[in-house]
């Protein structure tokens, strides 16, 4: 690891000035479970590491049923599933947060860090996209909001400009009869990188028998996590049954542009998109029916 300076910012403005002055050579530190590994392996270098965990907005969870969830960008995963109200309202987020690494990783790793790290296989991002989450960014020009679906621009690349950083992520309030789920495929039970990951959010009709609207997001099948637009749109008005879930799975494959690597071939990944989409839709619908 390179030698670097360390600053623990305590306000958003302080972090912005440190990052703006540091430019490419400054790095934001949240849980460090990606950053410290990358610095140690010299995949990234830094002259300045800016710890953002002591900034109040970054470490807060605020939730109201009427207004939705604001999740501080540095809140570690264990606090997401440990908050009973948030866990009940956003089960898809709980699925993601409890899959990232093991228990000791979840004590540090944040969903904000998962998003900013912009891995194509990130387990947090599909859930955020499925929930139509928005990234709240601060920078030298003030604040701006970007939909999470547009936040990642390539492997390890994001819309963040010099001096900008992620303050929080907002998720809309959940309507009646809605639910979400995230699942990934890995060759073992714990501690691995997704071969494919799929997140889905659904809202059902008042009688809970058909799908009013849906959003499906895929991981590890393109340079960034992607929305399965055609499958998502097609679901509106369809009966909430197995035949619909299977057909949506076929349509979701159209959004996948997978590569072949040591974790799986492109063909295998396409197949998994179909299977996982069917399964997460079933899980999301059953949660929506129970809500």
């Amino acid at each position: 690891m390179n030698d670097f300076d360390y600053e623990a910012a305590t306000t958003v403005d302080e972090a912005v000035s440190l990052l703006a002055a540091g430019g490419q050579r400054a790095r934001v530190l949240a849980g460090g479970t990606d950053l410290l590994v990358q610095l140690r392996e010299r995949r990234r270098d830094a002259d300045l590491v800016v710890d953002v965990k002591r900034i109040p907005q970054l470490s807060e969870i605020s939730y109201e049923a009427a207004t939705g969830l604001r999740l501080g960008a540095a809140v570690p995963c264990y606090r997401v599933y440990g908050d009973a109200e948030v866990a009940a309202a956003y089960p898809g987020l709980v699925d993601s947060a409890s899959l990232i690494g093991g228990w000791q990783i979840q004590g540090r790793a944040s969903l904000g860090g998962n998003l900013c790290n912009a891995s194509p296989a990130a387990d947090g991002i599909p859930s955020l996209i499925a929930y139509d989450a928005v990234a709240n960014i601060a920078g030298p020009q003030g604040e701006r909001d970007v939909p999470v679906a547009e936040f990642c621009t390539g492997p390890g690349k994001t819309v963040l400009e010099r001096g900008e950083f992620l303050v929080s992520i907002t998720l809309p309030p959940q309507p009646a009869h809605s639910g979400a789920a995230y699942q990934r495929f890995i060759p073992r039970n714990e501690m691995d990188i997704a071969v494919v990951g799929v997140g889905a959010w659904v809202q059902l009709s008042d009688d809970a028998k058909s799908i009013k609207s849906a959003r499906i997001a895929l991981a590890a099948v393109a340079p960034t996590p992607v929305v399965a637009t055609e499958a998502s749109k097609w679901l509106s008005g369809r009966p909430a049954d197995e035949a619909t879930f299977a057909e949506a799975g076929e349509l979701a494959k159209k959004a996948a542009r997978p590569i072949s690597d040591l974790r799986g071939t492109a063909e295998y990944r396409n197949h998994l998109v179909g299977v996982l989409t069917r399964r997460v839709l079933a899980a999301a619908v059953s949660r929506a029916q129970a809500s």
Partner: protein
């Protein structure tokens, strides 16, 4: 396969930082460079060599410590981040010569061979029992999934944790 040579570590002089924290209930302080991990600091600056360096990238759990009540891999925490924190290491488990029930059960159940992973397992298991004194086998396996052991095949470790839970109640 061609390997790209990493550039030499820069020799920018960074200032050592003074950090105060609590370790196993006692106030401690140290000076460290910002790049030193909490694991480096515990081992090299505070003389607490219980936490082990296995993989140094968060996968093996041999360096697990409890930071403000939360189990973490100390290789993925900077020493400077621990300012003001309460840290519990494996050295804090035994009270004098009186072993913690987990330590006693690991010994009696032969839940270790080479022993490198053992401090991490003990710390993770303690964090689990602190929160949930009567975990199911599945809960034990889930909470120890971030700790790797290449000798025992895990069954004896899981059994030792179950026995320690029984001994505690």
């Amino acid at each position: 396969m061609s390997h790209v040579q990493a550039p030499e570590a820069s020799v920018r002089p960074t200032k050592n930082v003074h950090v105060e924290l609590t370790v196993n209930g006692e106030p401690r302080e140290f000076l460290c460079a910002p790049r030193e991990s909490l694991l480096d600091v515990l081992r090299n600056r505070l003389g607490l060599t219980g936490a082990k360096e296995g993989c140094n990238n968060g996968n093996c759990g041999a360096c697990a410590v409890i930071l403000n009540g939360v189990p973490v891999n100390s290789c993925l925490v900077l020493g400077v981040e621990a300012a003001g924190a309460e840290v519990e290491t494996v050295e804090g488990l035994a009270k004098g010569s009186h072993l913690h029930p987990l330590q006693q059960c690991f010994l009696e159940d032969a839940a270790l061979q080479c022993g490198i992973c053992t401090p991490g397992f003990l710390v993770s298991a303690k964090a689990l029992l602190d929160r949930n004194p009567d975990p199911s086998e599945e809960e034990i396996r889930l909470h120890l999934a971030g700790n790797l052991c290449r000798c025992t095949g895990y069954d004896k470790i899981v059994r030792a944790v179950q026995d320690a839970a029984k001994a505690n109640t």
